[in-house]
Amino acid sequence: MVKNKKIHNIKIGFFLAFRQLKHASIWTTGLIVVVMMLTFLNLVVVNGILVGLIESSIEASEDRYSGKVIISTLRQKSIIENSSEIESVLKNLQNVTGIVPRVLAGGTIQADYRRLLKPEETPNQASTNISGIIPSEEDKVTGLSNYVIDGTYLDDEDRDGVLVGAFLINELTPIDSIGFSQLRNIKVGDRLKLTIGNNSKEVYLRGILKSKIDNIDARIIMTQSELRKLIGRSDTNVSEIAVKLTPGSTEEDAVRVKNILIANGYDFDAKIQTAKEAEPKFLKDMKDLFGLLGTLMGSIGLVVASITVFIVIFVNTLTRRKFIGILKGIGITSKSIEYSYIIQSAFYAILGAILGMLVLYGFLVPFIDKHPINFPFSDGILYAPLSGTLWRVLALFVTTIIAGYIPARMIVNKNTLDSILGR
């Protein structure tokens, strides 16, 4: 009469599980489901925030500084040859939405240059990279003006105004390290002396930048035309080109742009990298490390959840031992009874995961996207890609099923008569 024993046992298991769940206390069921939901969130959110710390930093760097492709000088070179040509090629590419050419030079900025320093005094100065930009173009593509926390952004015609990154001002970012110098006690409007090589120029502090991106916050920014004058360059070549692609572009799109430039032979003039390739190794290592830490912490949650389900199912089977004995006595197979408990465990896991996903994608992710967590070095987001989340759902599901199966099997294997008579 029964064609497929396994499926038949599962069907009977469903029959029993459904009725047991239907008559179970709503509070007990609710409590288990909430534990499952919190476990799921623990699995996803801890990992998501830790990885999100780095991921948001990378995203912000692409958005505010590098774009999807960053073109920089070759070793031993201070400029990118044929910069204008490269820019023209990029402008004609379909998915390129903006390019930002920058001229870079190493230099020093000093605040106390107008008074004579005593021999034991160290000058109030900072040595760093000076970036020459076209303010309107830079702002259009990277939105740099949004990160001016004091003072105002540069005009294209600005002759002696500079923006100073927050890393270079001790009061904003206290760094006490030998070899790293910072400006102290400066305010917007102060006169400063900018020195590049043997050339100096008096400038004034027009604004202070804080973007949580090292390559912005550790630089001095001025108009490209003024920087060119200072370093004595009249050509149109630049030192760095950031390339922005259409929103939602992937790494593959960036690689395609890079390959087009390489196909045109520009890799002999410049170092062409996707933003991902240009990521510092420590950032990749940190991302892996934080991912591992998140997984470890989530795994502890998973163990706790499996113990919870084990205890719940164990107590349930123990108190229902007599009925398990009766089921076996009237001819219900052990497998059907075991399946009924597996199905109940699966129900808790699925419901917990569904509720968890609703909370995650319906509330937590959009909320944290809108109100990022303010970490010192990044605006923390909750990084929870669907594929990773589904893997965690699977992990919770499998763990819960095992945790439900073991106690059920322990009780089902007891002597039938002993179970019925409760001895």
Partner: protein
């Protein structure tokens, strides 16, 4: 001539508790014929329930043979014994042994569903048997909403629904009032009249007289037939 449906040879059951061994059944030789209504009687501790548990495959004897409906059940595996119980045997327990999460009709239908009958036919058959035991209109009641007598009748309906070769009843009236007890015995007589083999354990001599034959147990042996 009626065929033998249950036969035991030198059936022995010994319980071990540490070093102490207690032999509850002592080399029982017994035969029950198909269609017979047999009552097993005896005082508490005489071994009557233990004998029922052995011949109904709810327990394994320490030694001896049991042949039920032509099958030597000694060598059956755990799963084979479960299937044998499902297809050949029906049980009525003293405390009804209904599943609390299932309605009356679901309790009765469960063994039928396990046998592979589709839900529609299983429920139809279950309702018919519930009607037979006088429980029309109680199909959807869960056990907690039924009286003791009603619960025992659901238990009888469950035991009968799959037309078992033998119906085993362990003190089926022990928890019931007289009225309900008499009703249960009346049902037993009716189904016996239709040819059902029944083996009932009881300590009430009056109820035992309902049976065709009484097996008297005393100190683990059959005292009289």
């Amino acid at each position: 001539m009626k065929e033998i449906i249950i036969q035991t040879k030198k059936l022995t059951k010994t319980f071990t508790d540490g070093d102490k061994q207690t032999t509850v059944l002592k080399s029982i030789d017994m035969e029950i014929l198909a269609g017979e209504f047999v009552a097993i009687m005896g005082r508490s501790g005489a071994g009557k329930s233990t004998l029922l548990y052995q011949i109904s495959l709810l327990d394994r004897p320490t030694s001896g043979e049991i042949v039920i409906d032509g099958v030597d059940v000694h060598d059956l595996s755990h799963e084979e014994r479960t299937t044998f119980r499902l297809n050949k045997l029906g049980y009525v327990f003293q405390d009804y042994a209904l599943l609390p999460d299932l309605t009356a009709v679901e309790n009765v239908a469960l063994p039928l569903l396990m046998q592979g009958m589709d839900k529609k036919h299983a429920y139809k058959r279950s309702m018919e048997v519930l009607d037979q035991v006088g429980l029309e209109g109680k199909y959807d009641s869960i056990p907690a909403k039924l009286s003791g007598g009603q619960q025992q009748r659901v238990s009888i309906a469950r035991a009968l629904a799959h037309d078992p070769a033998i119906l085993f009843a362990d003190e089926p009236t022990a928890n019931l009032d007289i009225e309900s007890s008499l009703l249960v015995l009346k049902i037993f007589k009716e189904i016996h009249a239709k040819g059902q083999t029944i083996v009932m354990v009881t300590h009430e001599a009056e109820y035992a007289r309902t049976a065709d034959r009484v097996i008297e147990m005393k100190d683990g042996v059959i005292d009289g037939k």
